[in-house]
């Protein structure tokens, strides 16, 4: 009997150990991550055929992910609201706070995650490969609460993934089943809302923001942040300046922070969540049909003030970002000493690592004019109901584990120095007399320049390039009289010595401008009249249809359809 007991005990623990490879020898925190704050079925897994890019979460690296996301949000929000920084700092910092709050509320800071499909590919991908069959299989189950919940979720997916397909405009055979995805150790996953109508970090609705999806931008985190934060700012700015039009913003100033909190709440409730600034004061009506949405939002906003938000849980305690966040919460409505810490965040490169990028060979797809010419227009009076998603009964929520803050890794990009012709990348860039971030080294800012001049990069020092101001830097400021200035290398881009041959053309026609060549995946961004243009790039499709590109006055590369062979809208200048 003793022999039996000994052998049993030894082999029992042996088999427990070996039959649980997932759990063996890993800290408890890796079992649960930021991504687990959303249902597994809300993540749809992507295979290698998708083009995607941007910051990607990975289990076990929550702190670093949140830190980088925090930095990227601050940088983008700064770029959008930079005019307010000196002019109206309270509004500026309030917008930074709003920019941090919205993605935390919308998606628990999740866009992409990269995880093991064996464990985390669940429900949605399997249903997507054959929705009718999937629904039929659920319906065939025995009656139970699990079945009702699964069926409800399947119906949401059936309805709203169709809207996604229409908006995304890349066909319907996009996703693989979980079984097929298990050939990979890990897969890129993107977050959908519980009803599959909204997607990603900013929960952008595929029906309402069709042109954004059509351009494929939902799969690029940078674009998602740009679009979502700009949309938020549209409402934020309008109601701030026209505050007298909104009763909920006409507050008595015994609480100086109250106005700015209400601006945040109103900007979200109005423009962002309702699509109309007319709904700005929705949050004051506890009987409103969507009052629950506003209650959810204020809970998240209050979690920031109560210091138990997701940022407080995941930002490393000794990090620059955590320090800035604490100061921002305390001072946003009356900033006194935020600028110096902010400066470092604005200059840091948050894009260097933790970027997942998947490139596929671009396909030149000749798409015949396949638009079904409907005899009658869509007289759609369909009212899309607001879906109250029930609990997912079948899915066991993974235990919440407080993740210990991770040590900050300072990753300094290594760049080899070489003399070259450069140009500023971005706007509102500080130029310095010393290669360091400090108030003493500050000289001036590119916002005082007109246009985007090129310059000679003549040296480097650490993270900074040394540049030679030239005759294009017209200014009375003595700063420009210096022999050289320093700018952080992240804000300088190489001006290619050998570029696609630039030519000058005289455009003879009015054309609409797009952000990319081609029509199907690009967005119209402006209009251009007859003028002499310097063409920086051209593309000819199907040997007949020509697209030309130039740099507009804002420094953006824009494209226009220049006509078909023999019927061009321009003449080339010598």
């Amino acid at each position: 009997m003793r022999l039996f007991s000994v052998v049993f005990t030894v082999f029992f623990f042996f088999f427990v150990f070996f039959l649980n490879p997932v759990k063996q020898r890993k800290p408890a925190s890796s079992d649960s991550s930021l991504a687990d704050r959303n249902y597994r079925r809300s993540f749809i897994s992507l295979d290698d055929s998708f083009n995607y890019s941007g910051l990607t979460h990975k289990p076990g690296e929550d702190g670093e992910y949140v830190r980088r996301l925090f930095g990227q949000v601050i940088q983008k929000a700064h770029h959008i609201a930079r005019d307010y920084k000196d002019a109206e700092p309270s509004l500026y910092y309030t917008f930074l706070l709003a920019s941090l709050t919205v993605p935390m509320h919308e998606s628990s800071l999740m866009h992409f995650t990269r995880r093991d499909p064996h464990r985390y590919c669940y429900f949605s991908n399997d249903l997507l490969v054959d929705i009718p069959a999937g629904i039929a299989a659920i319906e065939a189950r025995e009656e139970s609460r699990n079945k009702r919940v699964a069926l409800s979720n399947a119906r949401f997916l059936e309805r709203n993934i169709e809207r996604f397909y229409q908006a995304f405009n890349q066909g319907r055979d996009l996703f693989m089943s979980c079984e097929d995805l298990k050939q990979y150790d890990e897969v890129q996953q993107i977050l959908f809302s519980n009803d599959y109508a909204d997607i990603g970090l900013m929960m952008i609705n595929s029906t309402s923001h069709g042109s954004f999806f059509r351009a494929g931008k939902i799969l690029h985190v940078d674009e998602v942040l740009d679009y979502g934060l700009n949309y938020l700012f549209d409402g934020f700015e309008e109601i701030s300046l026209n505050a007298s039009n909104y009763a909920c913003l006409n507050v008595v100033q015994d609480d100086p922070a109250e106005l700015y909190k209400r601006i945040i709440r109103g900007a979200w409730a109005g423009k962002y969540n309702s699509g109309q600034v007319g709904q700005t004061c929705r949050f004051t009506n506890s009987n409103h049909r969507f009052a629950a949405n506003d209650r959810g939002f204020i809970q998240k906003l209050n979690s920031i003030f109560e210091r138990n938000s997701l940022y407080h849980q995941y930002l490393p305690v000794d990090s620059l970002e955590r320090n800035f966040f604490s100061e921002l919460i305390a001072q946003y409505y009356d900033p006194q000493s935020l600028d110096s810490v902010l400066e470092e965040i604005l200059e840091y490169n948050y894009h260097d690592t933790h970027q997942e990028v998947n490139e596929t060979e671009p396909e030149i797809e000749i798409v015949a004019e396949e638009e079904e010419i409907e005899e009658q227009p869509e007289a759609s009076t369909e009212v899309i109901p607001e879906i109250q998603t029930p609990e997912v009964a079948e899915e066991r929520p993974l235990p919440e584990v407080m993740v210990e803050p991770e040590p900050v890794q300072e990753i300094i990009p290594n760049k080899e120095f070489e003399t070259f012709q450069g140009r500023f990348r971005g706007s509102d860039i500080n130029l310095r007399i010393l290669p360091e971030v400090s108030s003493e080294s500050y000289c001036t800012n590119t916002k005082y320049l007109s246009g985007n001049p090129s310059f000679r990069v003549i040296g480097s020092s650490g993270d900074f390039y040394e540049i030679e101001p030239n005759e294009f830097f017209e200014s009375d400021d003595s700063c420009w009289q210096a022999n050289s200035l320093f700018v952080h290398s992240d804000f300088v881009e190489l001006v290619e010595e050998q570029v696609t041959p630039q030519k000058q053309v005289r455009l003879n026609s009015w054309v609409s401008l797009r952000d990319q060549a081609g029509m199907r995946s690009s967005v119209i961004v402006g209009t251009q009249g007859p003028d002499v243009l310097t063409i920086v790039e051209e593309r000819l499709f199907a040997n007949e249809y020509l697209w030309l590109s130039f740099i507009d006055s804002a420094g953006n590369q824009v494209w226009f359809y220049a006509g078909s062979t023999g019927q061009f809208k321009f003449e080339e200048l010598p």
Partner: protein, 258 residues
């Protein structure tokens, strides 16, 4: 023999007990044991270069699709957008400027453009499209209108632009060519004065868009002066307006006195 049986039984029992206490509930015994086998590693390729979107081209190929059918579709879309019968409605989110039907109109115009059949669409129709103030449709229809008749700018000027919308009209002047026509230049300045006198948000967006236009110094100073008088009546956030005035003053070298 007895010992052998005991040891074997202990191992089997330990295996079963170990399996049931530790396995993933969804796994079978086979799957659990399969995990003991070494897995094939698939390398994920990672780089930090952004990906370009796939270019696509839309060409006319079905010559049987008559331009008249497309133009009828345009007319029907225009009609249902004007009487709002085809606007998508969501219970909660309703931003009319984002309605997908506007993009459908843009698509139809572009098909006609590639087919060289834009004569199927009248100026009146183009003006109605521009009046929706959907950015993509405005730029498309405005370009087509101005291509036919530069003076249709006057009709575009009559559209009631507010807030961010003023950028749509004023951006037509960005290239600096329209100002060569005195009548159109005067039209621009008259519109700017009108926008500067509207609400605070419209005032600011007008000042912002003025940074992208070309003025004579006296013009810039005159328009800035009007804006300053308006700003003095605003009781909050005056700094942001003054910032725009100061930018103009720096560019055109005048004393803002605001």
């Amino acid at each position: 023999m007895k010992k052998l049986a005991l040891v074997s039984g202990a191992i089997v029992l330990a295996l079963v007990a170990g399996f049931y206490t530790s396995k993933n509930p969804d796994d079978s015994i086979g799957e659990s044991l399969q995990r003991l086998l070494p897995k094939k590693k698939k390398k994920a390729s990672v780089s930090v270069k952004l990906v370009e979107a796939n270019p696509e081209v839309l060409i006319e190929s079905k010559k049987t699709v008559e331009a008249s059918k497309i133009s009828k579709k345009v007319a029907d879309l225009l009609s249902c957008l004007q009487d709002k019968t085809c606007l998508n409605k969501h219970e909660r989110f309703n931003d009319e400027s984002l309605d997908p039907h506007f993009q459908k109109l843009v698509d139809k115009l572009e098909i006609l453009e590639i087919q060289n059949n834009l004569d199927q669409i009248s100026e009146d129709q183009l003006l109605k499209m521009a009046a929706f103030k959907n950015p993509a449709l405005f730029h498309k229809s405005a370009a087509l209108l101005l291509e036919r008749n530069l003076l249709s700018l006057k009709d575009l000027a009559k559209i009631d632009f507010q807030g961010k919308e003023v950028k749509l009209f004023l951006s037509l002047y960005r290239s600096g060519q329209l100002e060569l026509n005195p009548e159109l230049k005067a039209l621009r300045n008259e519109r700017i004065k009108n926008y500067l006198n509207q609400d605070n948000y419209t005032l600011l967006t007008t000042l912002k868009e003025m940074q992208n236009l070309s003025f004579e110094s006296s013009e810039a100073q005159m328009l800035s002066g009007q804006a300053c008088r308006k700003i003095k009546q605003i009781d909050s956030f005056q700094g942001i307006y003054r910032k725009q005035i100061n930018k103009l003053a720096q560019k055109y070298r005048f004393n803002p006195d605001c």
